[in-house]
Amino acid sequence: MSESTASPAYGDGPILEMRGITKTFPGVKALSDVNLSVDRGEIHAICGENGAGKSTLMKVLSGVHPHGTYDGEIVLDGTPATFRSINDSEARGVVIIHQELALVPYLSIAENIFLGNERRRAGRLVDWNSTNTEAAELLTRVGLAESPTQPVSTLGVGKQQLVEIAKALSKEVRLLILDEPTAALNDQDSEHLLDILRRLREEGVTCIIISHKLGEIAEIADRTTIIRDGQTIETIDMTDPDSTQDRIIRGMVGRSLDNRFPERTSVIGDEVLRVEDWTVHHPTQPGRVVVDKAALSVRAGEVVGIAGLMGAGRTELAMSVFGHSYGRDISGRVFVHGREVSVKDVPSAIDAGIAYVSEDRKQLGLNLIEDVRRNTSAAGLPQLSRAGWVNEHEELRVAEEYRESMGTRTPNVLVPVGKLSGGNQQKVALSKWIYTDPEVLILDEPTRGIDVGAKYEIYTLINKMVADGKAVLVISSELPELLGTCDRIYTLAAGRITGEVDVASATQEGLMSLMTQEADA
C-alpha cells in the first residue's frame, strides 16, 4: 500500500539520478551506460529515434524491468532505489503511464482510477461513496467534465489519457512518467494535456515525458535529454536560445535533416480509384450515418490526403471501402481503373488492388506474437505459394529484402514483432501491404508515434510508390504532414466531404475551417 508521502523533508538535489544504466535483451543491447538526471519540479523531455531505448529506460525506472535485470544504479531523492515491481516504484511516488493505455473499458472512470488501490470501508468492501467523490475531485484536477460512473469505453482517447493521469494522481504521484501521451491525440486534446502537465508542475509534481512531437517538447519541456542507440547524447536546457529543433534532430539522428519532407515532382496519370455516393451506417446504432454520400478519386502518381477532426469518419470511410471492414448498410460504388469492383469483403478488396494500413497497428495491423517474416508475408501469401503451399525460402528472402529496403531495425526477421519498437513495427506493417503490390495504398496515420528520421523514410516510401504509378491516400491528423506530402486534400467533417483543395492553394487555416464546417442539414 502506498503510504502517504505528504511533504517529507527531501533535500533539494535532483529528484532522480539514473547512472550507468545498461540493459540487454537476448541479441539486443537496448541501453548502454545511460545517465539521466531530473530536477525536482521540472518537466523533463526524452527524445530519440524509434528503438533508441526510451521506453526501456522508463521501464527500468518504474520497476517493469525489475532490479537485477539491468546494470547501473537509480537514486531517488538521494536514496538508492531497487524496485522489483511497479508496486515498489508506486510506493515511492513514481508512476508510469505506458505508451498503450491500460484502462478496463467496461469499468467506470472511478473504478478504473482506483483499480488495485480501492477505497475501502469495513475492511474489504469497496466504499462507493468515497470512490466516486474522490474520483470526481481528481477529474476536476485534470479538467475532465465527465461523470465518474460513466464507463471508460464511452470516452475518446484524449479523455482516456486524462483518466490515466487522474489515476496517477490518486497514487500520490511525485514523479510522473508519460510515454508518448499525445501520440494518439488531436491538437486540441494535446494542448489540454500539456496544460494539465503545467498545472501539475506548479503543484510540485515532476514529469518525464517521451514524445516524438518536437513542437510540443519545445513548448513544454524545461530540459530535454536525447538518446540515440541506447546512449545518452546530451541534455539540453530548453531556455537556452541554442535549443532549436534542428539541434534536437541532429542529436537524435546523428546528422541534420535539411528537409522534413523529401522532394517530389508529381507526374499525375489516369484515375486509379474512384468512390461514389458512399454511405456507411454505424455498426451497432441503427440509423446513425457515419459517412454520408462521400465521393472521392485518386489518380496514378498522386498522393491525396484526407483531413478531418477526430470522429469525422476518416478511418470509417477508409475501412468501409477496404472490404466493408467497418459499418453496416453500406451503399455506393467503387471503381478501380475505371472498372466497378466489388469490395464486399477484404479478400475482394485486396484482389481489386486496394491496401489499407491501419492506424492501430497493435490491434488491427500486426500479429504481435508472430515474427517479422510471417507478418511481412501475412497479406501476400497467395503470391508466395503454389496450390496452397507456402514457399518458405522465398518468404524468408522477401522478409529480408523488405527489412533492408525499409531499414527496419531488428536483429533478424525471426524476432516477434511485439519486441520491436513502435516505429519499426510500423515499417513491418507497411512492408506487409507494399508486398501485395496494390494499385492504391490507403495509409491511416502512417507516422503516428514515429520519429522524425523514420517519418522522412516513410514519406520517401510514399514517393517511391507514386513514382511507380501507384495511387496513395493518406489520412492524417497532422496538417503540416498533409501539406508536405500530398497533391490534393479532401476535408471531412461529420461524415461529409466538405472540401477538396489543391495543395498549392491550401493553408492550415483554410483546411481547419473546412474541417470544422457544420453539416448544413
Binding site: 505506458h98 498503450e100 477484404v346 485486396i350 488491427l364 524468408l396 525471426l414 506487409k432
Partner: protein, 394 residues
C-alpha cells in the same frame, strides 16, 4: 559478445526451445529406472504406441483447434459416437470392415460440419458449442447403441489397432522392413534439418553451432533407431503407428507450410489483424472443426478396433488428455502458438507417465494427481520461461 557469452546464450536459447524434449527424456529415464527397464522393453514400447495412439491422433486435431484460439470438449463423445456407428454396421449389420470405417469417418465429418457451422457462421464460442456437443454426441451414442455394448469386431477391423506389419522383407528375429522405414525416415530428417540450417545461414539468421547441430541430429537418429530396433525385434511395425506417422507428417506440413496453416496461426494470434489481412476467418474456423471431426473419427475407429467393441461410455475424458497434451507441448491458451510435434511430445509425456505408473502398480487416483500436477508444472514452466526472456508488452 565474447565467445563464452555467445556459447552461453546459444545454450540457454536452445535449451529453452527444446525444454519440453529435455523434460520428456528425464521422465523416460526416471520411469525406466523405477521399473527396472520394463518401460523400455520391446513389448512395452510396442504396447505403448498402440495404447495411446488415439490420444495422439486427437491431439493433432486439438492443437490446431487451440492454435486457432478455440477449444474442443466434445472429442471424447465423438470418439464414442463414430465407434458406435461403425459397430452397429459391422457387428450388428454384418457389413464389411471398410464400410464401418467409412461410416465412422462420415459421421465424424458430419459432426465437424455441425460444430463448425455454429462456431464459424453463427459465432457461438467453441467452448459452448463443444460443451453442448459433448452432451449431444454422448446421448446419440447411447441411442445408436441402444444402451448396450457391441463386440467383437471381425479380425480385419481389429487389425487396424492391433495388427503388425512383419516379415515383409524378411529378417532374422528382427523385421527388416521396420528398420528400413525408420532408417529412411531418419535420413530424411537429417537432410531436411541440414538444408533448413543452410537456408537460415544464407540469410544471416542465428543457428546453433555446427557441433551442437551434429550432436543433436545424431542423438535424435540414435533414439529413433533404437526405438525401431525395439519394435522390430518384437512383432514388427504396428499398423496404427503407420497411420499415426502419416498423420503427424501430413499435419506438420499443413500447419507449417500451407496457407491454411498460416491462417490458423494468424487467427489465433490476432483475429482482427487476420481479418484485415484478407483471411477468410469464417471459412478457416469451419475447416478447423471439420478437420477435428475427421480426426476424432479416425481416433474412434482406432479405439473401437483396439478394444474390439463399442461402448456407450467409450472415450470418456479423452478430450482432457488431448487438451493437456497440447498445453504440455507448448500451445498457448490464448491461441496463435503451438506445434503438432510439440503436442505429440506432450502426449507422449502423458503416455509414458501413465504407463510407467501402471507398470509400477500405482493406483488410478494417484496417477490422476500426478498427471494434474505435471500439466500445471509444464504450463507454469512455460510461463516462467517467457517472463525470464523478457516478454514485452509495450
Amino acid at each position: 559478445m565474447t565467445t563464452i557469452a555467445n556459447l552461453k546464450d546459444l545454450m540457454t536459447r536452445n535449451l529453452r526451445s527444446s525444454g519440453i524434449v529435455v523434460a520428456f527424456v528425464l521422465i523416460v529415464a526416471f520411469f525406466t529406472a523405477l521399473t527396472d527397464g520394463l518401460l523400455l522393453s520391446p513389448r512395452n514400447v510396442s504396447n505403448l504406441t498402440q495404447q495411446y495412439s488415439y490420444i495422439l491422433i486427437l491431439a493433432i486435431g486439438m492443437v490446431i483447434v487451440i492454435i486457432g484460439g478455440h477449444i474442443d470438449l466434445s472429442v471424447g463423445s465423438v470418439v464414442a459416437l463414430t465407434g458406435a456407428v461403425s459397430a452397429v454396421l459391422v457387428i450388428k449389420g454384418g457389413a464389411p470392415w471398410w464400410v464401418g470405417v467409412l461410416a465412422a469417418i462420415a459421421t465424424g465429418l458430419l459432426v465437424g460440419v455441425w460444430q463448425g457451422f455454429w462456431v464459424a457462421y453463427v459465432g457461438i464460442p467453441a467452448f459452448i458449442v463443444t460443451l453442448a456437443g459433448m452432451l449431444l454426441f454422448r446421448g446419440l451414442t447411447y441411442i445408436v447403441l441402444d444402451n448396450v455394448s457391441l463386440s467383437p469386431f471381425p479380425g480385419e477391423y481389429s487389425t487396424i489397432a492391433q495388427g503388425f506389419v512383419n516379415g515383409l522383407l524378411g529378417g532374422y528375429g528382427y523385421d527388416t522392413f521396420t528398420l528400413l522405414v525408420f532408417g529412411l525416415a531418419v535420413l530424411g530428417y537429417a537432410v531436411a534439418a541440414y538444408r533448413n540450417r543452410r537456408a537460415k545461414l544464407s540469410y544471416n539468421q542465428d543457428v546453433e553451432a555446427m557441433p551442437l547441430f551434429v550432436v543433436k541430429t545424431v542423438l535424435v537418429a540414435a533414439v529413433v533407431m533404437w526405438f525401431a530396433w525395439q519394435i522390430a525385434t518384437y512383432r514388427g511395425l504396428p499398423v496404427v503407428l503407420i497411420i499415426l506417422a502419416a498423420l503427424i507428417l501430413a499435419y506438420s506440413m499443413i500447419t507449417k507450410h500451407s496457407i491454411f496453416g498460416r491462417h490458423v496461426y494468424a487467427i489465433g494470434g490476432n483475429l482482427a489483424a487476420a481479418q484485415l489481412s484478407g483471411v477468410r476467418v469464417k471459412r478457416v474456423n469451419f475447416l478447423i472443426f471439420l478437420n477435428m471431426g475427421f480426426l476424432a473419427s479416425i481416433a474412434g475407429v482406432v479405439f473401437s478396433a483396439r478394444s474390439s467393441s463399442a461402448q456407450p461410455g467409450a472415450g470418456n475424458m479423452f478430450e482432457l488428455d488431448a487438451i493437456a497434451a497440447c498445453f504440455i507441448g507448448g500451445a498457448a491458451v490464448t491461441g496463435g502458438v503451438g506445434t503438432v510435434v510439440g503436442a505429440m511430445v506432450g502426449g507422449l509425456i502423458m503416455a509414458v507417465m501413465s504407463n510407467g505408473m501402471q507398470l509400477m502398480g500405482v493406483d488410478q487416483s494417484t496417477q490422476q494427481v500426478v498427471k494434474g500436477l505435471v500439466l500445471l508444472l509444464a504450463v507454469g514452466y512455460d510461463i516462467w520461461n517467457k517472463k525470464r526472456s523478457g516478454a514485452r508488452t509495450a
